[in-house]
Amino acid sequence: LRHDRATEEIRELAALYALGSLTQHEARSFELHMQEGCPVCEEEFRKFEHIVAEIGFAVEEAETPDYIRELLLARAEREPQAPSNTAAARKIEPEPPPRIFSSATFAKPVKPKSGSGKSPIFAWILSAIFAALAILAGYQWKLVRDANTQLQAKASASLADVGDLQKQLSANNGKAGDLEHILAALAKPGTRIARLTGQPGVPSAPGAMIWDTEQKRCLLFGFFAPAPEGKAYQLWFVTPTARVSAGLVKNDPEGHAFITVPVPGDATDAAAVLVTLEPDNGSQIPTMPFYALGRFN
């Protein structure tokens, strides 16, 4: 039966179908009616479908926990996608929610048919068994779900642990590499060393500078507290006549610095090295007080 115009009854059915608030039987009938081809009902449904979506947009947003993102990534790695152009792919909307345990299911127990030849007591026993099985299945499902949630939390924690271990490993590899550099520099003949010490009134700044006179470059390593906002550490060579800038010292967020700097041509006779705190684009002359000072041996 095709409709030629939208009546109030059709509008109501279409509106309630779009809201998902028809009973399963009513919804199935309306679906079949549309599948048989009734453009009037189809159009009414499409109109209401968009309006229903509007209700969802009125909710307030809520902050999501980070672990879901990690679990989603893990699931995407694990679970294959449905291929295109399959029966599932041709479907327009997600399947309606299963209503296995809807209140209607429990509110209207199925009565045995009269004249079926089976005793009502037998039917009640069967009903009771099914009800017990349903409760048991629900309980089991809840147990599995809880266990699953715990496993997900553990998996998330394990992922975080693996991440930490990878960071530690990477940091240790970095330290090993740094030590190799230092040892190689120290082994060279003609190497000069300056031990950096913090100056009065500034935080402690332990470190050292190894000068490879053959390659005309220096290796600076040490710990400098993170520079204040808008400030940066600057390295200077102190010669008998001048203080020659060797550029800014970049340290990591924890304060560790490990850099190689070329020795400026006019600083080959430097007797000491200085670290100062300057504006973050550097200075032409060092600003007092000095942050750290070291004299070459």
């Binding site: 309630l16 998902g20 979506a53 989603l72 327009i92 929610p97 345990f101």
Partner: protein
């Protein structure tokens, strides 16, 4: 693929951007799935949390929603705006979860505990929707919200609230018609 960072400060996402991401997800691009999650999950989580009223269940459902999007992105039909498709999935999965678990105690207080966060998904659409719903007469709004967020049939709701079935159906229909009249 960057892990552990969110697209904070990104511009609110609209339908076209969401559509482009869904197309990429359909081609198996996992980074696009994560971008879509970063950009849309707060609204979808708000919806799921509102329906379920239980944070743990809502988190579980949110993961389920995006897993569904990952697996079934090929089923997306551009006849429906992309964000509406996402919302439809979120609502369907949350209502399904609701029927399975029935966390009834928290549902009455589902508004409590919601945070007033900045809008990250189609803010104009959110503002218009809120205004349209606020403009409904209180009974219509109450019944329409009940129908939408509970996923129950009108007859189930009529039984729960102790009102005639006809009243529930009429208010639902009239409420939707009123909302459609307010749409620009």
């Amino acid at each position: 693929l960057e892990q552990g960072t969110k697209a904070e400060g990104a511009l609110p996402i609209g339908n076209e951007e969401a559509l482009a991401l869904i197309r990429k997800i359909e081609n198996g691009e996992k980074p696009s799935l994560i971008i879509l999650y970063d950009r849309t999950s707060r609204l979808l989580f708000g919806l799921v949390l509102r329906i379920l009223g239980d944070r743990a269940l809502a988190e579980e459902t949110l993961l389920d929603v995006y897993t569904y999007i990952w697996k079934q992105s090929a089923s997306y039909n551009p006849r429906i705006p992309a964000l509406e498709w996402l919302m439809a999935i979120a609502r369907a999965r949350a209502v399904a979860m609701l029927h399975w678990t029935k966390p009834d105690k928290a549902r009455l207080e589902r508004r409590a505990g919601m945070q007033d966060l900045a809008m990250t998904v189609a803010p104009e659409q959110q503002i218009l929707s809120r205004a349209s719903i606020e403009a409904l007469i209180p009974t219509q709004r109450e019944i329409l919200e009940w129908v939408y967020f509970s996923g129950l049939s009108c007859s189930e709701i009529a039984a729960q609230v102790g009102k005639p079935l006809g009243v529930i159906k009429t208010h639902s229909r009239l409420g939707l018609i009123k909302l459609s009249e307010q749409k620009p």
